[in-house]
């Protein structure tokens, strides 16, 4: 691609060489495009088409069940409604809070666990396996399990707490501390994933760096800040991006825990409810576009941070 911009040739030999090079380059470029084509088509089919269709639908009044109202173009009506939608606004704030809390705690816990299971001790393999169990359980199953454990009539958590004399009678955790319990479940579930990614990052740091540092008289803390942390930075960024995006589009835990309770809906729950329960595909699509833009904002911020960090 850069061949177009090359300055004018200065002599016969260079020209010939350049032309040969151009031919080769062109052939290679063509081949590259050819090889990329299948994956580009797949991306277009699974990402660009649905996204485009959602954007298109967000400008219509389409309904979920056909035959209720004829679909027509409504311009920016949906977006106008969206600006004044307090339910969606509340869900954005709640989702951002959820993201901030869970990602911060998951990162702190995940890094600690990764450092522990990265050190050599007996039973390390078993430990690594056990650590992954919460991550291996489907989210809906895990959420339902926790909901039952937290239940105010038959929940095991109340039972244990009463037996240990921590509380006098059953608490309704889910209504009294909604954000705390939902964050706790998410942290329980995804900390292993964070730990796993960071562990992979830790394993590529060469052992001799630490040996050299030890010879130079660096203590453990200095080794961590001067060697581990900087070399782990790429892994940390990957973890933060993955977890933030995941947390921003959280659906299952909120759906299982709170269903349609006002003020306790994540962005995705509101969008799903608008489309499937209320039947407003058009307005729901506008909500989805808004969610997409909010998440994109985070991606832009993270990618910028990575770029700046690299330079």
């Amino acid at each position: 691609m850069s061949s177009v911009a090359t300055p004018a040739p200065t002599g016969d030999t260079t020209r010939r060489r350049r032309r040969r090079g151009t031919k080769l380059q062109r052939r290679q470029t063509r081949l590259a495009w050819l090889l990329l084509l299948p994956s580009l088509l797949v991306v277009a089919f699974v990402a660009i088409y649905p996204l485009g269709k959602t954007v298109y639908q967000s400008f219509t009044n389409q309904e979920f069940l056909a035959g209720i109202t004829p679909t027509k173009w409504v311009g920016l009506d949906n977006y106008h409604q969206l600006i004044h939608d307090t339910i969606f606004r509340d869900s954005v704030v709640l989702t951002l809070k959820f993201t901030l809390i869970t990602v911060a705690i998951e990162f702190a816990l995940g890094l600690t666990i990764a450092l522990v299971v990265n050190s050599k001790f007996r039973g390390r393999g078993v430990m690594r396996a056990i650590m992954l169990v919460p991550w291996a359980i489907p989210t809906v199953v895990a959420a339902k399990m926790w909901l039952w454990m937290l239940d105010d009539t038959f929940g095991v958590i109340n039972d244990l707490a009463i037996r240990l004399h921590l509380i006098s009678h059953s608490q309704s955790w889910v209504t009294q501390h909604p954000l705390a319990v939902v964050c706790a479940v998410d942290i329980w579930k995804t900390t292993p994933f964070v730990a796993l990614l960071l562990l992979a990052g830790l394993q590529v740091i060469p052992e001799d760096l630490y040996e050299a540092a030890a010879v130079d008289g660096a203590n453990k803390l200095q080794q961590f800040w001067r060697i581990t942390f900087p070399l782990l930075r790429p892994a940390i960024l990957v973890v933060l991006i993955f977890r933030s995006l995941d947390a921003l589009r959280v659906f299952d835990v909120f759906q299982v825990f709170f269903g349609n309770r006002l003020g306790q809906q994540s962005m995705a729950v509101v969008a799903q409810g608008t489309i499937v329960q209320d039947g407003h595909v058009g307005y729901g699509a506008a909500l989805c576009v808004a969610i997409f833009l909010i998440i994109s904002l985070f991606v832009v911020i993270y990618v910028t941070v990575v770029r700046v960090g690299d330079e």
């Binding site: 069940l65 056990i130 009539t153 009463i162 209504t175 349609n260 499937v276 209320d278």
Partner: protein, 451 residues
């Protein structure tokens, strides 16, 4: 060597996860009261089974059925019998226990023209919304429909087409502990909500000394369809209208606000704090576990409470719901219909299944084993049925019924009901009615305009 260790590791994780999820699934299905009850009486025989077998034997249909109480046990028993007699295979899939969630599930299936559902159970408020996707049953089941209550058949007839068959009826009733009323010096159940709160407070204060989890009153307070039904009873019984009257939202009125605030003030006092998360099953569980003095629920709870596995068998009774200071007792009309999907590949076999499921013999079976309200009058008056279901006695069964405002909302009912139950749930969670109801009323009027 390294790889093998990794494989073993992955294996261990997989096995542990599998065991964990299986135990969750097992815990979910391990309902104490389920099986024994429905097997006490055998599922009735299918009439004309041989003729049906000849025509449709070997076909496979899917029935999206009940999931509340012992409903799934009943469905499976009846489907098994039907398959045995006719050779039509029926796979029974329980629907989500929140009715609005199962509406969403059906809407998804219908909008994608899916043939995966042949027969579905439909809430009494849905036929209007789903009519375009349902088979007209009049040609084949018109005669049988005449046995059923005319009001429900009319509800299920859209533009002259019988889009669903009545299956069982429902109305809200009050369950109360006879032993505890006696213990605390009450001779009869409460007639007003305030009486109920007072009695609940006294009984709860006494019972909590030995059972810290005891609550005065439980009902369906979660943000879902059930709360719309419950709140309609509170508001209508206090003279506050029916949420929407004459095509206009009326929910924002002083009487409605008073009764809703009265309920709000009881949450965390005579009602458990968690009541704002309760659906039918949690209500039934709390009451049948001996953890509540009063409960509002549908008739199905009677059979479970009286059955084996219940801690309150013989210690409770039912009556009409209390009313507000200036109103009359009412009961919200619920109930379920069976419809056949237009996209079914075996419509005729599906219709035969509906014929069987809505026959007098099956309704009698359902009423006796599951305490569901028969929609066939002759069954509802049958001595054996009334003996098993005291709520069918005229004093309770003749209570004025109130209907959810579906007729004004048609296809927008689900959306409007969501606005209502979200608002009421917000009130129960502590927001004063006067700052919630104006918003609910405005949104309802906006939805009413959409038509």
């Amino acid at each position: 060597m390294k790889h093998r260790r990794l494989l073993i590791l992955a294996g261990v994780v997989g096995v542990v996860a599998l065991v964990a999820s299986l135990s969750v699934v097992a815990a979910g299905s391990a309902k104490p009261t389920a099986a024994q009850h429905a097997t006490a009486m055998a599922a009735p025989k299918v009439p004309n089974a041989a003729a049906i077998r000849k025509k449709y034997g070997g076909q496979k249909i899917t029935f999206v059925g009940d999931s509340v109480g012992n409903g799934h046990v009943r469905d499976t028993a009846l489907a098994k019998r039907f398959t045995k007699d006719t050779g039509i295979k029926v796979s029974v899939v329980p629907h989500p226990s929140a009715s609005d969630a199962s509406y969403a599930q059906l809407a998804r299936a219908f909008s994608s023209k899916s043939s995966s559902i042949d027969v579905a159970m439909l809430d009494v408020v849905w036929p209007g919304a789903f009519a375009p996707y349902l088979v007209n049953l009049k040609p084949k089941l018109g005669k049988q429909s005449k046995l059923h209550a005319a009001g429900i058949v009319a509800n299920d007839t859209i533009n002259g087409k019988l889009v669903a068959m009545p299956w069982f009826g429902d109305y809200g009733i009050l369950y109360y502990r006879t032993d505890l009323l006696k213990k605390y010096g009450y001779s009869k159940p409460p007639t007003t909500w305030n009486q109920l709160f007072q009695m609940a407070a006294k009984i709860q204060a006494g019972e909590q000394k030995t059972n810290p989890n005891f609550a005065g009153f439980v009902f369906q307070g979660n943000a879902y369809e059930g709360l719309t039904c419950d709140a309609l009873e509170w508001i209508a019984s206090a003279g506050g209208g029916h949420m929407i009257d004459g095509g206009k939202a009326t929910i924002n009125n002083a009487k409605a606000a008073t009764v809703l605030d009265a309920f709000r003030n009881q949450v965390g006092k005579t009602m458990p704090r968690g009541v704002t998360t309760y659906q039918e099953d949690q209500t039934e569980h709390a009451f049948d576990n001996g953890d509540a003095a009063f409960a509002r629920n549908w008739p199905y709870q009677y059979g479970i409470g009286a059955g084996a596995g219940s801690k309150v068998a013989g210690k409770f009774s039912v009556t009409v719901l209390p009313h507000g200071a200036s109103g009359k007792s009412v009961g919200t009309v619920g109930g379920w219909q069976l419809g056949v999907s237009k996209y079914s590949k075996h419509k005729d076999a599906a219709i035969e299944f509906v014929r069987y499921m809505t026959s007098p013999a099956v309704e009698k079976f359902d009423a006796i084993t599951n305490s569901n309200v028969p929609t066939i009058q002759s069954v509802a008056k049958n001595k054996a049925v009334v003996a098993a279901n005291p709520y069918l006695k005229p004093a309770i069964a003749d209570v004025p019924r109130v209907t959810r405002p579906a007729k004004y909302l048609k296809t927008h009912y689900n959306e409007a009901s969501k606005v209502i139950y979200q608002g009421i749930n917000q009130i129960l969670n502590g927001t004063p009615a006067k700052s919630v109801l104006p918003g609910v009323q405005a949104k309802l009027n906006q939805i009413l305009k959409q038509k």
